[in-house]
Amino acid sequence: MKRRDFLKTSIVASAAVMGTSSVLSANETHQPNDRRKVSNMAFPEKRPLITYSDRPPLLESPRSTFARGITENDEFFVRWHLPDIPTHIDLDKFSIKINGMVKKELEVTVAELKNDFEQVEVTAVVQCGGNSRSAFTPTPGGVQWGSGAMGCAKWKGVRLSDLLERAGLQKGAHWIGFNGEEKAAYYKTPNFVRELELSELDDHVIVAYEMNGEDLPYLNGFPLRLIIPGYYSDSWVKMLSNITVTDKYKSLFFMDKAYRVPDNETEGETPDHLVKKTKPITHMNVKSVIGYPENGMKIYHNSHIVVRGVAFDGGHGIDKVYVSVDGGKSWDRAELKRENGRYAYTEFRYTYKPTKYGKLQFMAKAVNYLGDEQPFAKDIPWNRGGYKYNGIDEVTVEVI
C-alpha cells in the first residue's frame, strides 16, 4: 500500500488521542468513555465516525445511532484485527471454499450463492465483545471502545447449514474453522481464524452478502460475512473465504487467548488474581444504550423530551426497558417497539417533561425474557480483556 498525503487532516480532536480520565476511583467499573467525537475524515463508504485507527481500520458509531432500530450502513462500526486487507475484490473470481472433513469439497461464487441456494434474511445485532471496554479500570488489554462498537442490520444470504449439507459432512466432523481475507503483516503473527463447534451452529447462522438491502460495505466484510445471531462479533468472520471442517480443535491465539472471560459465576477476576480457567464469550448479555438525548445537551424546562434508545440480548428477547430520572431509586417502564425479531435491537421510547432546572440524568435498564437485567456499572466485575460490559446506561443533560 502506498503512502498518500492527500489527507493532511490530523485527527487531534478524535478518539485516538483521548484517553480515559484519571479522576475515576480505582478499580470501579464506570460509564464507558462518551467524550469522543466523530473525526473529520470519512473512510470508504462511511461517514466520518469515531476513529481509532486506519491500519487496521477501527471506527466507532456515535451515540446518535442508538436512537434507531436499524443502524445505517454508512454509520456502522468497523473492526478489523490485522492490517492486511485486500483493497480489491473481483466478484467474478471470489469464491468461498468449503473443505476438510466433507464428502465433496465446494467452491462457491457469490453469484452461485445468490442463485443456487434458498435466500434467507435475519435482523441481528452485531457487537464487539470489547464494546464499552473503556468502562473498566485498570485499563484491560485491547481497543478502548466507548459504547459504539455495535450496530443492528438486516442481513441476507444463505444458511450455513445448506452449504454444509451440499458439501456433506464426514463422520466425526465436529469443529468448523472460519477464515477471512484479513491477514497479518508479519508471517509469524497468528491469523484471525474462528473455530466453532458444529453443535453451536443452528439454522440461524448465515453466510450473508447483503446488509440493509445493499451489498455489504467493504469495511464490514464485503463480499461475504458470517452472521451468527446472538453471538459477539468476533465470530462473525468478515471477507469469509474459507470454511474448514475438522474433527479436532486447533489451538489458535485468537481462540485460546482473546475473546475469553473467567469461567466462574460472575465472570470476574482482579488484576492480582487472574482466574486460570476461562471460556469463550459467545452469547451476548442483556444491554441497552440511550441514543437521545446525549450527554451535555441542553433541554428546555417544561418541554417534552422523548428519550430513545435500543436494547438487545443474545436472542432471548427484550421483555422490558426501564428509565430512571432519580439516580436509579425508582424506575418507570419505557414503551417498546419490537419489529425485527429477537436478535434485533428493540427500540425504546420514554417521554418526560423536565420541571426542574439544572442537571437531569436519565438511566436506562433492560430486562430480557429470562429475567436477566442490566447491573449498575459499578457492580460489574473487572476482567482482563474488558469484555461483556453491559452496565445501566446514563446520560446527563442540563435543563435550562
Binding site: 503512502r3 498518500r4 498525503d5 492527500f6 489527507l7 493532511k8 487532516t9 490530523s10 485527527i11 487531534v12 478518539a15 485516538a16 483521548m18 484517553g19 480515559t20 475524515m41 470519512a42 473512510f43 470508504p44 463508504e45 476513529t51 481509532y52 485507527s53 486506519d54 487496521p56 492490517p83 486487507i85 483493497t87 480489491h88 445468490k114 442463485n115 434458498e118 435466500q119 434467507v120 435475519v122 485498570p138 485499563t139 488489554g141 478502548q144 441476507k156 444458511r159 497479518a184 503483516a185 508479519y186 509469524k188 497468528p190 439454522d203 447483503e210 438491502g213 445493499e214 451489498d215 467493504y218 469495511l219 432471548h316 428477547g317 419490537r338 425485527n340 425479531g341 429477537r342 425474557y369
Partner: protein, 102 residues
Amino acid sequence: MKKIILIASLLTGSLFAQVKGDIEVPYISYQIKMGKGFDSVQANCLMCHSFGYILNQGPQSKLFWDKKIDKMVEEFKAPITKEDHKIIAEYLFKHYGNGKLK
C-alpha cells in the same frame, strides 16, 4: 416471544451495489510526540498496526507499557530486541505515561 427470525425470500440482487473498483483506506497523520526513542517506536511498532492502537490506551504506567510490549512479542511474535524494548517502554512512559511506575 415473537418468532420472526428468518424470512425466506425469493428476491436476489441488491438495491445498490456499492464498491466500484479498488477501495482506498485513508491514511491518518497521527499527532505523535517526538523525542528520544521515537526511532525505535517507528521501527518496531508500526509493522502490524497504526499509532492509533497506542494512543487510544490513554496515559498509562511504566509497567503497563512494559507488559504491552511483552504481549506484542509473546502473543503476536513481534521481533523486538531487549534493547529496543527498553527504549520503547521509556519513550512511551515519558510521553504517554501517567506518572506511576505500576
